[in-house]
């Protein structure tokens, strides 16, 4: 027994790190994934850099900073790399601040809808019967509601919405799709023998859901999260463009609204194009990330890669 104790054991604290590394090895081989990831890194750098311009000079404040020498929109120059808007605010610092908002809106709305969707999907799939019927009919009801229209109506009712209200509304309207997928996955997991083995061992329902089902649906949730980010960013941009965005934040949609509202649509391409391209690129990047992750999670592909 003493010998037994003195034997040094080799138990890894985080054995799943190895799997993550294996997944990364597969991800690396995917061209789409690499492009998407580098684009995202670029946007992340932009978001981080958004703090720099205001430090250099107060006139680079995206919302409040105005160049005292400029009274109308001007094109790119050394002083303003991307030019200025109609009242002399720097477009580059607006674009950088917009990146931050896009990440914030996209990731937090997607994260919230994923948490909600996964929890509801797992409970519906696992409990079955009445709970399942109730939750899934609720999901159907929300799914058929046009998100845009409801948000516009809410905005008309309550006036300007803050960015967090918009995030919350997007999250509340975007969970049903996730929960349907997670429910289907849970249904197929529920009758697998390893769940029965947990029941035989005496695990409670909560433990089965969180310890045995959740790790198996979580990769799928994260996959859906990347797609939800895309839709959240687009919804926010559309809202802002239509004039229902948060007036105290600069988002890309807001920039587009200003171009349009001040009549610079066809006069100032240096103002119109950057936010438009950024919206397209960031949604594309998240989509590519999702596609690449899809391939990592596909067991058929995993086998082909022959990591084990």
């Amino acid at each position: 027994m003493n010998l037994e104790k003195s034997h040094k054991r080799y138990l890894k604290k985080f054995p799943w790190m190895d799997r993550l590394r294996g997944g990364w090895a597969i991800y690396k081989q995917n061209l789409l994934g690499k492009i998407g990831l580098s684009l995202l890194v670029m946007f992340a750098l932009m978001a981080i850099c958004s703090f720099i311009p205001p430090l250099i000079d107060p006139m680079y404040q995206p919302m409040t900073g105005v160049d005292p020498e400029i009274t109308k929109s001007t094109g790119p120059s050394l002083r303003h790399w991307l030019g200025t808007d109609f009242m002399g605010r720097d477009l580059l610092s607006q674009l950088l601040a917009g990146t931050r908002v896009a990440f914030l809106v996209g990731v937090s709305a997607a994260f919230m809808s994923i948490v909600l969707g996964t929890a509801i999907g797992m409970v519906a799939g696992y409990m079955g019967r009445f709970v399942d019927t109730f939750l899934m009919r609720l999901a159907d009801m929300i799914m058929v509601m046009p998100t845009m229209l409801v948000v516009l109506m809410l905005a008309a009712l309550f006036g300007q919405l803050t960015i967090w209200t918009i995030v919350l509304i997007i999250a509340l309207f975007r969970w049903p799709g996730v929960s349907r997928v997670i429910r289907a996955q849970t249904l197929s997991l529920k009758h697998r023998p390893f769940i029965e083995a947990a029941r035989v061992a005496g695990a409670s329902h909560t433990r089965i859901i969180f310890r045995h089902i959740m790790p198996n649906v979580l990769p799928l949730s994260f996959l859906y999260m990347t797609f939800r980010v895309t839709s959240a960013i687009i919804i926010e941009a559309a809202l802002a463009f239509l004039g229902f965005g948060d007036p105290s934040t600069v988002s890309w949609g807001m920039m587009l609204q200003w171009v349009w509202k001040t009549g610079h649509m066809f006069k100032a391409p240096y103002w119109l194009l950057p936010p438009g391209i950024c919206i397209s690129l960031i949604t594309l990047a998240f989509y590519m990330l999702g596609r690449a992750m899809d391939e990592v999670l596909d067991p058929r592909l995993r086998k082909e890669a022959g990591t084990e």
């Binding site: 037994e4 054991r9 080799y10 138990l11 890894k12 054995p15 799943w16 190895d18 799997r19 697998r192 023998p193 390893f194 029965e196 083995a197 947990a198 029941r199 035989v200 061992a201 005496g202 695990a203 433990r207 310890r211 045995h212 790790p215 198996n216 084990e308």
Partner: protein, 337 residues
């Protein structure tokens, strides 16, 4: 192992009936009723390996699932150590789960792909809040060694997809054994494994019995596996108990035509001339009886139409604790084969 009748009963099934109802065409209507188990009574004695043999769909797996409470019987009672288990709740229920475990058929399905070997085996300990982290590690290491996963260091950090079929089944056995249960249901633990690994798994089960004093219910379709492992064997057909006796009795001196048919069905290697064939199976099934007759009537060569199709034979003791449900059990061997 010699059987003596004064040994304690650990699990007792009493007149168990289990039906499955298929869903009907319309909402709320009921479809066909399939009887998986028909008034089965079994007493399993402490320390023995009890074999439950039958073909696919005979209800043998259902019996195992009933014992571990994965299903509920429609009628009848199940006792563990003389205590009925239908009404168990709370602490008593948790205690029950600690004492009765199951090894599943398919090791590729019975392990959670997202849990490492250590997490899988220690999971029951965590559920029952046994010991601290170190105690659990001790228990896992010990159990892994006893099921032949050694050195455990090589396996604890692996995931199921990094293990072979035999290793997976060892992990599943370790998970069942780590709680030190009194009773384990082994539901065809080797049907997905090849022969040489099956033999290793059987030896582990035998070792477990000796080491942990565990009682096993071994469910199988293979009479040869049952003979290798079991002390007593019950043969069931379509949810009905056909024959029950010691392994030697059932296999050397089978009395029920169905058991004989099962023995005939075993592949015999290089012995075709010497082996006696009972030849009890009808090549073409006859029309099933409309009455509550013998369940095996439609396929039985020995059956007497006037008797077997009208009346169900009851389980009778023919000789020393060898029970058979056939009218022609006693004189069957001499007559007509």
């Amino acid at each position: 192992m010699k059987m003596n009748n004064d040994r304690e009963t650990i699990i007792e099934l009493e007149h168990i009936v289990k039906k499955y109802t298929s869903r009907g065409f319309f909402f709320g209507t009921r479809g066909n009723e399939i009887i998986a188990l028909n008034k089965i009574s079994i007493k399993i004695l402490k320390g023995e390996i009890f074999g439950l043999v039958g073909e696919s769909g005979s209800g043998k797996t259902t019996a195992g699932r009933l014992i571990v409470r994965l299903e509920k019987p429609e009628e009848g009672r199940i006792y563990l150590n003389g205590r009925e288990m239908a009404g168990l709740k709370g602490k008593a229920l948790k205690n029950f789960h600690r004492k009765v475990q199951m090894i599943f058929q398919d090791p590729y399905q019975s392990l959670n792909p997202q849990l490492s070997v250590f997490d899988t085996i220690s999971e029951p300990l965590v559920i029952h809040k046994i010991g601290n982290t170190e105690d659990r590690e001790d228990a896992v290491w010990q159990t892994m060694k006893s099921v032949g996963l050694s050195p455990p260091d090589d396996f604890v950090n692996r995931y199921p997809h990094q293990l072979s079929g035999g290793q997976r089944q060892r992990v599943a056995i370790a998970r069942a054994m780590v709680l030190n249960p009194d009773f384990v249901v082994a539901d065809e633990p080797t049907s997905m494994l090849d022969a040489s690994i099956s033999a290793q798994i059987f030896n582990i089960l035998i070792e477990m019995r000796e080491k942990f004093q565990v009682t096993l219910l071994f469910i199988t379709h293979s009479l040869s596996a049952a003979r290798y492992l079991c002390d007593r064997i019950a043969v069931i057909y379509k949810g009905n108990m056909m024959e029950l006796g010691s392994a030697d009795q059932v296999i050397q001196k089978p009395r029920h035509p169905y058991t004989k048919a099962l023995i005939d069905a075993l592949p015999k290697f290089g012995l075709s001339g010497k082996v006696k064939h009972y030849n009890t199976l009808l090549p073409v099934e006859r029309e099933a009886s409309e009455h509550e007759g013998c369940p095996f009537f439609a396929r039985c060569r020995v059956a007497n139409k006037a008797k077997c199709s009208l009346e169900r034979p009851l389980l009778k003791e023919t000789d020393d604790s060898h029970w058979v449900a056939c009218f022609y059990a006693e004189n069957g061997t001499e007559k007509g084969f």
